[in-house]
Structures are given as structure tokens and as C-alpha cells.
Symmetry: C2
Subunit: 304 residues, 2 copies
């Protein structure tokens, strides 16, 4: 088992996590959360989304959140759906943009009302503008390992999609298991092949723990040599096709696993846990993070 | 990633799972559960424990459960703490025995009031009697990868322990991560080494999902060539040092992961899920199994 020595984690809690919560967090609390995550060692944080406020009301305070975190020594990413979103994000002085599309046409049409090819054509100029404007840019492909409508899209389709994206100038591409259905053998085989075919790309993986496989899939990606992973403080987030199911891989579970396996993350697990405690208090809910649950149980025992 | 083609799963729900539940299941329900598990394809089930009824009141009906499941085409294991337990189990006509000790003296003394060496000396004649009596026998070492009192026992200690056990005639040895603290790198390295040193042993792995690493650790064991795993319907069971934390690796999560990864289990995941539904109803609780939680969410959505 030959693991990389260092991985880079992009914290997506303030965006991917919070946008899925039924309860909204106050803007000041979002800012406090992002500052806690930065203090815990997060170097990249997806802080918000510049989608239309009507689409995701929870994130309507995007510009305010960006302005209040500009001093942090962090690359602050924001999700951008289109040119209008890019404009708003750029004016709000974020440091990076996350673009999104789906691996399957059915999901892309349901979600974004256009084909995958149309999305790529529309997003490519935004990635180019980001480069000109000195912003980091990444594009996340959702449903890579399985789609609720089309099932397994197949590696060939993903290879063609990445080929098109690489040709269009995308350099940092995220493979997202949005419904948590990937398995480790698939992750290992697919990411190994993709790296062989596209040696110049900066690949990252984004896993959900819907079926309990999140960390197993991370390990498979690591074994294939991937060194960038998304994760979400407290394991927030979910699966729109199984409301109530477990969400994103929890940052604290990921950091603890990696550090104990000898893989450096430069994140402090106890500080991440403190941020999760803060979130749990503000959202008044039990989090999905396994380590958070252990700590809760131990505290309950200590005060009993 | 070179995975074995077939694994053998020992279902430990009726023993390891139920003994940790605060609520007891009626004897008829335990029997019904075991029959459902057998119908789902389980070939080995740990059905109960012949410890003193005062120690685990939940399992005081051990003989009754054994008698009512004798017709099943299943190797029915029972946990045996000592010669008295062996006698009762043998009279109750179980098919196999599970013996237990800890990897660390501190935990063994707290749990069994003797040193590891004393446990081995005491249990070896029971394994020999099982052989004479035509019963299957396995011995499970708890806290192999970490102990709440002594921390990481170190691979050298585990190698010495296994050496002693092999010398005393134990042939099937379980390495149990009782508190769920193992990490995949450790599991891969340790089980690889143990197999190199003791090629004649039948090794099995038993993981808890306390820190969310259960399936990742299974994958690491598989990659090292281990083909026997314990798991627990519904993910019942827990960690005595973190009450409320996630329990054993759930059988349905394990089966689904393995089958989708191309590893045959001969278990039917939907039938296991049905057994979990039965358990959830009888225990009136939300189970830890991720797949069970997804199905619950989807059913709630369908009936909404």
C-alpha cells in the first residue's frame, strides 16, 4: 500500500454543506465558521456560491461572506454557475472559482437545463477569464461514478468528457461521487486510467458517505496517487435523492484517518472538531461525522 | 488493487450486536432473526454466548436459541468464556465456538481477570476439545490495533501472541479492532506481515465503524489477502468506551461494497436489509447501517 506523503484538502462545508441544510446559518456565524476553519489549517475553503439568491436562499449573503473573510491566508473558492455569477464573485474579490457540470446529460439537463457539451462550452470562457483575472479555477463533475437517472456512466464517457474539458483549457478537474455510490475498485481503476491518459491535469476527488464508503473511496484514490480531496466539516451535506442519508466525507474523519495512516494534511483535527461543535450548536443537530459522535458520547459519559 | 474473488462473512449480530443493546429482544425474535440471516445466505452465524447469564442477561436464553436453530444449514457459533460455557454450548449442540481474549494485559485483566498468557493456557484445551467433538473453533483477539488503556500494542506484541497461540494449537484467529481505531495502512501492513510469518493460519478480521473507517479497513485487509470478515446486521453493537458511537461494520454495507467491487459474498443484500428492518422495528431504533438509512430516507420520500 503505497500512499502519498501529503494531501491537500479543500474544505467545502460553508458552501456544499450549508446549502443542503434546511436551517440557515446567520451571516456572522458563517464568517465565524470560515475563520475557525482557516485557523484549523485549511488552505482552501469553498466559502459560498454566487448562484441566484432565489435558487439557494441560504447563500444569498455570498458577497458579504467574501468581504468579511478577505484577510484570511486562504484560497477562498466560490461556486459559479454562469457569467453573471462570475461577475458577482469577481467583484466580491474571491480567490478562486468552482465551476460545475454533471457527467450525464440527463442530470445536467435536470440541474442546469442544457447538455454536458453546452455546459462545457459555456464554462470554458469563465475558466479563461479566471486565469486572466488571477483567480484559481476548478471544475467539478458531479455523478462521475454513478447517476440516479442513468446509472453508471461508464469510464469511456468520463474519459471523453475529460478529453473535451482538457482541450477547452480546464486544468483542475474534480471527480465527484455526488450520490456516494462509487466503490473503491472503481475509484482505483478509473483514477489510475484517467491519470495515465491525462498526465498534465490536476485531479481531485469528492466523496459522499451515503453508503458508508467515503473513506474507503478516499483510500482507493490515494492508492492510485490522487492527492487532492474535498471534504466537509461535520460531514454536513447530503444526497438530494436520499434526504436524511449521510452527507459529505467529514473533514475531521478524513484528517484523523490520513494523519494516523502517515499522510500529512496540515490540518488540526481538534480545531476542526471545535468548528463542528460550533456548527452543531448553531444548527441544533447531531452531525454525521463519526469522530464528532464519539466525542459527543465521551463528553456525555464524562458529565454523567 | 488486487482483491480476492470471494470472501466469507461471519455474521455476529445475534451475539455481538444484541449483547450491546440496552433493550433485549424476545427469544422468538432472536430465532426469527437468525432464520432470516440464514435465508439471506449467511453460512456462519454467531448466534449467542454461553457466558454466565448474570454477566449478559440479554443472552440468558442461549440454549433455547441454539435448539430452535439446529435445523439451519449454517455453522452456528457461540461465544464461550470458559470450560463451563463450553459444556453448556456443547450440550446445546452448537456447531462452533468463539473463544476470546485481549491483545493487552490491562484490558484482559479488566475484562477476564487474568493475563493474556493465562487466557491462552485456559482456552487451548477448549479448542482441543472442540476439535475432538467435531466443532468448529475460532479465537478472537480484541484490541489488536489499539487498546483504550495501553494504546497501540505494537505489531511485535501481536506477532508474539499469535506465535504462542499457534503453538498452543489455535488454527483460526480473529484480529478484532474492538474500538474502531485501526487505520488502513496499519491493517495492510500488520496483516501482510502476520500472513508472511504464519502461513498456515486461518486469519479473520473484525472491524468497528467507530471512526467511520470500518469499510476502509476491510478494503485494506482484502488487499493484503484476508478473505474472512465478521460483520453485524444493521451495524448493531458499539464501543463500551464511547456509548452511542457507531458499532460494528454493517453486514449490508459490507456486502453491497464487496459485490459492487467484484468480490463475491453469496449474501443477498436486500434480504439482509429486510432483517435489519425487522431488528429496527423490534428494537425501535434507527440503525447505524448506512444503506439502511438510505432506504429509510427513500421510503419516507416515497410515502410523503
Amino acid at each position: 500500500m503505497n500512499l502519498p506523503k501529503i494531501v491537500r484538502i479543500t474544505e467545502v462545508g460553508p458552501r456544499d454543506g450549508l446549502q443542503n441544510e434546511s436551517q440557515n446559518l446567520a451571516t456572522a456565524d458563517k464568517i465565524a465558521l470560515i475563520r475557525q476553519l482557516a485557523a484549523a489549517g485549511c488552505k482552501e475553503i469553498e466559502i459560498t456560491s454566487f448562484v441566484h439568491p432565489k435558487a439557494i436562499p441560504n447563500l444569498a449573503d455570498a458577497a458579504e461572506v467574501a468581504a468579511a473573510t478577505a484577510d484570511l491566508p486562504v484560497t477562498r473558492f466560490a461556486l459559479i454557475p454562469n457569467a453573471m455569477g462570475y461577475q458577482r464573485a469577481h467583484e466580491a474579490c474571491v480567490d478562486g472559482i468552482t465551476l460545475v457540470l454533471s457527467a450525464t446529460d440527463t442530470h445536467n439537463r435536470k440541474n442546469l437545463n442544457r447538455s454536458c457539451q453546452e455546459s462545457i462550452n459555456e464554462l470554458a470562457p469563465l475558466a479563461a477569464r479566471a486565469k486572466e483575472d488571477g483567480l484559481a479555477a476548478r471544475i467539478s463533475i458531479s455523478m462521475v461514478f454513478g447517476c440516479p437517472f442513468e446509472g453508471n456512466p461508464g469510464l469511456d464517457r468520463i474519459l471523453r468528457l475529460i478529453d473535451t474539458m482538457a482541450y477547452k483549457g480546464f486544468g483542475r478537474i474534480g471527480l465527484c461521487d455526488t450520490i456516494g455510490i462509487a466503490n473503491p475498485q472503481q475509484v482505483f481503476d478509473w483514477t489510475s486510467r484517467i491519470q495515465r491518459e491525462f498526465s498534465g491535469l490536476d485531479l481531485e476527488l469528492h466523496f459522499h458517505n451515503t453508503y458508508g464508503r467515503g473513506l474507503a473511496n478516499v483510500m482507493a484514490g490515494l492508492e492510485a496517487g490522487i492527492t487532492r480531496f474535498d471534504s466537509c466539516v461535520g460531514g454536513l451535506g447530503g444526497c438530494p435523492f436520499a434526504p436524511g442519508a449521510t452527507g459529505n466525507v467529514a473533514t475531521e474523519d478524513l484528517v484523523s484517518l490520513l494523519e494516523e495512516s502517515g499522510v500529512k494534511t496540515d490540518l488540526d483535527v481538534n480545531s476542526i472538531l471545535a468548528a463542528s461543535d460550533f456548527l452543531a450548536g448553531k444548527l441544533d443537530k447531531r452531525l454525521n461525522s463519526n469522530i464528532w459522535q464519539v466525542h459527543q458520547a465521551q463528553r456525555a459519559l464524562a458529565t454523567a
